[in-house]
């Protein structure tokens, strides 16, 4: 095949480096003129190796650099390496996150913009758009997301193959046997006479020789891991309470802290009075942090209790104080001045709308909290010569830079240790907690400070999902969809998120229309316009970002026009679809769900939702019954095309988890503002899907095309649409704003 050769030369260099007692293999980055500016820390001509495989006499370690928020990213990365290395997962140690022993220093985290394809997309993709925005600010062109993805899927396999071939070469040097006569299996080179030489015994010799770069990747028919179900390596720990998360981190002499900042997000703190708190048991200090205060105590609960009695003077919110004004700002954005983009304008929409009976409607989607179950936390220790940060973050590189600014250390001396995360959904793209922990730790040098947010602080200070509105119009002709005009208004997520990093992004924000403008429907007259509302409450990437609202808007709008045409919702979507993979996805979900029309008998109905996001077409069918007590979701079917399935179990969980995430929030959740403050600060106010509401979910992944795509996000956008369309089928009522429970009871 020789595919590996081309790959290795085209996209990156895989090399090796000697490490204490052995050898490490990984992607080799060499700083050249005009190369990626994110390699700025490297001097010209200097090289850095991001290690993926480390072999010493003690064993084989697979390093999985992409963060795992619970979606199985570590597992998938390890599988890709192990597949080519010919080692079993029970023979290796996994080392998550950027290595702590950073012998190549900051360069180890330089890959931030290149994401694991099978990384849960929402972190990766939202970061990708942020990084692209950052690049844009710096005037740099970068390769689009899909090539980055394809490269990364190959990169880990090539790393494994280079390691395997180099180990064979090492064995050849030691034994005099020709490489061609050797095979590899279960972590050993096997000689023709059956002698097995474990990789660990070859590590030192391997470190000494030129790495073999002419490697051939295995033919898919020879794969042992890729595409096969395996037991996740963290499953025993996560079933026995022995998995440690960031919040469980502990060091000798550590003190506990919590913070409270102005409940009007981003507002100032004029004064604090901690006298009463200081008199409480275990409380050591009350210290100012940006926008509020921190309490240091000898126990988390004592810090929480003390924080409740500290008084403070807060400034007003730096945005509209009342929720109604946020909606008014969105309404006001629907204007020529507010127009941000019009990436799609097919046919003659104005003429088509003038010619027929117009179906029109307005849609709304509320602010939503990320609310991963593990509250935000970070542990920081500031010493004279170094700072250590232990936290669950998706952006270790930014954490390093921001903490360095606060403590005054060189970024090289700030060591970020990424810990396992109890969920993220985009929450851990933000780094206020690290900055605050650094501010607090700076007041007690050499003492590790673990800062834990109370749930209330976590939710009150969350940079939420955007609110958004859409206005749709459409016409039909001869029983078919003839036109669709969709305008979407929201504040810019990218501007809000980048603004917190001190960067401004010129040009339109593609997230305002993501999940809408790029839908592969061949509607004769078809327009999607983005309107940028003024910046309101700070917002951030929330699982599937712009598509989380727009998938609902676009698909429901289409459903309304299809209904007006008197066509079958599934058949008409399939007829309009020009993208082969997307059509295959719709046909598969129709088959899987036994689709024979939206009606399923009295008080029962089904709806289909489709959205292509992050390059992944995903279709869902939701079946509901309108019972005496309320709407019951009976069953959900999810089909998507991911190009290549790496770990089927993990993938299925992302598809079902993503759909339930989309459904749960559509039914129950919203964040609103009163007097500039978030009104829902715990799970009593911010409700989420519970077990009794959760339907069975059937999933199917298609493998069309040759891109490997992540499934962390794309199952979210079609879910709310499929549910709303199903409820319409069962009840005749169109739901056009979330949460749906404001209109129907759910059981």
């Amino acid at each position: 095949m020789g595919r590996g050769k081309t790959i290795a030369r085209r996209a990156f260099l895989i090399g090796s480096a000697a490490v204490v007692g052995g050898v490490a293999f990984g992607a080799y980055l060499v700083k050249r003129p005009l190369e990626n500016p994110l390699l700025a820390d490297l001097a010209e001509g200097e090289a850095a190796l991001t290690e993926y495989v480390r072999i010493t006499a003690d064993g084989v370690t697979l390093i999985t650099p992409r963060a795992d928020k619970g979606q199985g990213a570590y597992q998938v990365q390890a599988m890709l390496i192990a597949e080519e290395l010919d080692i079993d997962l029970d023979q290796v140690t996994m080392e998550p996150g950027p290595p702590a022993a950073a012998y190549y220093n900051t360069a180890l985290s330089e890959e931030a913009p290149g994401f694991m394809p099978t990384d849960d997309g929402f972190g990766a993709n939202s970061m990708r758009s942020i990084m692209q925005a950052a690049m844009k600010v710096m005037g740099v062109q970068i390769t689009g997301g899909s090539t980055t993805t394809a490269d990364a899927w190959e990169k880990l396999r090539v790393a494994g193959a280079v390691a395997r071939e180099t180990l064979k070469a090492a064995a050849a040097r030691e034994t005099g046997v020709a490489v061609a006569q050797m095979t590899t299996a279960r972590g050993a080179v096997i000689l023709p006479d059956g002698t097995k030489i474990p990789y660990v015994d070859l590590a030192e010799t391997a470190a000494d020789i030129q790495p073999v770069e002419d490697v051939t990747l295995k033919d898919p028919s020879a794969w042992r891991y890729i595409g096969k179900p395996v037991q996740r390596f963290d499953i025993a720990a996560k079933s026995t309470g022995t998995q440690d998360y960031g919040i469980d981190f502990e060091l000798d002499g550590m003190l506990h802290a919590t913070v409270v900042t102005n409940p009007r997000k981003g507002g100032a703190c004029w004064w604090i009075n901690g006298d009463e708190a200081l008199a409480m048991r275990g409380v050591q200090a009350v210290v100012p942090v940006t926008g509020g205060f921190g309490v240091i105590a000898d126990n988390t609960w004592r810090a929480f209790q003390a924080a409740k009695v500290v008084t403070a003077g807060w400034s007003k919110a730096p945005y509209a104080a009342e929720q109604a004004d946020h909606w008014a700002a969105l309404e006001a954005a629907f204007s020529k001045d507010g127009q941000d983009s019009q990436y799609r304008d097919d046919g003659d929409i104005e003429a088509a709308l003038a010619a027929g009976d117009v179906v029109q409607a307005e849609y709304r989607a509320p602010y939503l909290a990320h609310a991963p179950l593990e509250p935000i936390n970070a542990t920081v220790r500031v010493a004279a010569d170094r700072v250590d940060v232990w936290t669950g973050t998706q952006v270790p590189r930014f954490v390093q830079a921001e903490v360095a600014k606060i403590t005054g250390h060189d970024a090289d001396n700030v060591h970020v240790h990424v810990l396992v995360m109890g969920g993220s959904f985009g929450h851990r793209l933000e780094l206020d907690v690290c900055k605050q922990a650094a501010e607090i730790a700076l007041t007690v040098p050499n003492t590790p400070i673990k800062l834990t947010y109370s749930r209330e602080e976590d939710m009150a200070q969350d940079y939420t999902r955007q609110i958004a509105m859409a206005r749709m119009r459409g016409t039909v002709k001869d029983g078919q969809v003839e036109s669709l005009d969709l305008g979407i208004a929201m504040p810019s997520v990218v501007a809000s998120q980048m603004g917190r990093l001190g960067l401004s992004v010129p040009g339109p924000d593609a997230q305002i229309v993501a999940g809408a403008w790029e839908q592969p429907f061949g509607i004769p007259n078809y327009r999607v316009t983005g309107y940028r509302a003024e910046e309101l409450a700070p917002i951030s990437s929330w699982r599937s970002v712009g598509a989380s609202t727009n998938g609902f808007f676009h698909d429901c709008a289409l459903d309304e026009v299809i209904h007006a045409a008197g066509a079958d919702p599934m058949a008409e979507r399939i007829r309009l679809m020009w993208d082969d993979a997307s059509r295959a996805v719709l046909e598969a979900v129709a088959e899987l769900s036994g689709w024979d029309g939206p009606s399923m008998g009295p008080d029962r109905g089904r709806g289909v939702g489709f959205c292509m996001s992050f390059g992944v077409p995903c279709a869902e069918v939701v079946e509901v019954t309108n019972t005496e007590a309320g709407i019951k979701i009976d069953k959900v079917y999810v089909v998507s095309n991911v190009g290549q399935v790496v770990d089927p179990e993990t993938l299925a969980r992302q598809m079902s988890g993503g759909a339930l995430w989309g459904l749960g929030h559509a039914i129950s959740s919203e964040i609103t503002h009163f007097d500039g403050m978030t009104e829902q600060v715990n799970f009593d106010g911010f409700e989420a899907m519970r077990l009794y509401q959760a339907p069975q979910v059937e999933t199917r992944a298609l493998e069309l095309g040759d891109h490997v795509r992540g499934m962390g996000e794309p199952a979210v956008p079609p879910a709310a649409a499929a549910l709303a369309n199903a409820i319409f089928a069962a009840t005749g009522t169109r739901l056009r704003e979330m949460p749906f429970r404001n209109h129907f009871k759910f059981v």
Binding site: K69, G70, Q71, G72, Q231, R232, D234, I235, A236, A237, K238, S239, T240, G241, T242, Q243, D244, Y245, I247, D248, E250, H256, R281, N299, T300, W301, F304, A371, P372, L373, E374, P375, M421, G422, G423, F425, T452, S454, R455, E649, R653, S656, G657, G658, A659, L660, W661, G664, N682, F683, D684, A688, M689, R690, L691, Y692, A694, P695, Q696, V697
Partner: protein, 153 residues
């Protein structure tokens, strides 16, 4: 005060109203017990007091004096899993896994009282335990497996 946790007795010097959750986590160092909400809304902190599931964030430590407290870490270990934990592993329930200590403790307590729960009983017993990752279908399946295993035993 003296607390018996996972079969070991601990002498702790804490306020009477400190929630058991924080005594376990920060004073005794049992980290399998999780903090999620602090107001009995998520179930992440679920432990057994004399075999019955309670929210440790809402249980004063003083009220556990004289009782047997069992945490996820005492229910079983990776080497010797409790039937419920084994079912959780078999079904690969966990995604981020943060809620699962509480889910498992709640399920174990339910199955001790209701060996063969109906779907409705599972709904009623388990709906106080929040999972943000959406593992509910797998939780339900694991409960059915665990129930069958426990009935055999």
């Amino acid at each position: 005060m003296r607390l018996t946790v996972d079969g070991t007795t601990h002498e702790v010097d804490v306020e009477d109203d400190m929630p058991l959750l924080w005594v376990l986590r920060d004073e005794i160092g049992i980290k399998g017990v999780k903090y999620g909400c602090g107001i009995a809304q998520c179930g992440a902190c679920t432990v057994h007091v004399d075999g019955v599931a309670v929210r440790s964030c809402q249980t004063w430590a003083i009220d556990a004096v004289g009782a047997e407290v069992t945490t996820i870490n005492g229910l079983g270990t990776p080497e010797a899993m409790h039937a419920v934990q084994a079912a959780w592993a078999e079904h690969q329930v966990a995604q981020c896994g943060y809620c699962q200590s509480g889910q498992i403790m709640q399920a174990a307590s339910m199955l001790a009282q209701i060996p063969n729960p109906t779907d409705e009983e599972i709904d009623a017993e388990m709906s106080g335990n929040l999972c943000r990752c959406g593992t509910y279908p797998q939780i339900r399946a694991a409960i059915v497996t665990a129930a069958a295993k426990l009935r055999e035993a």
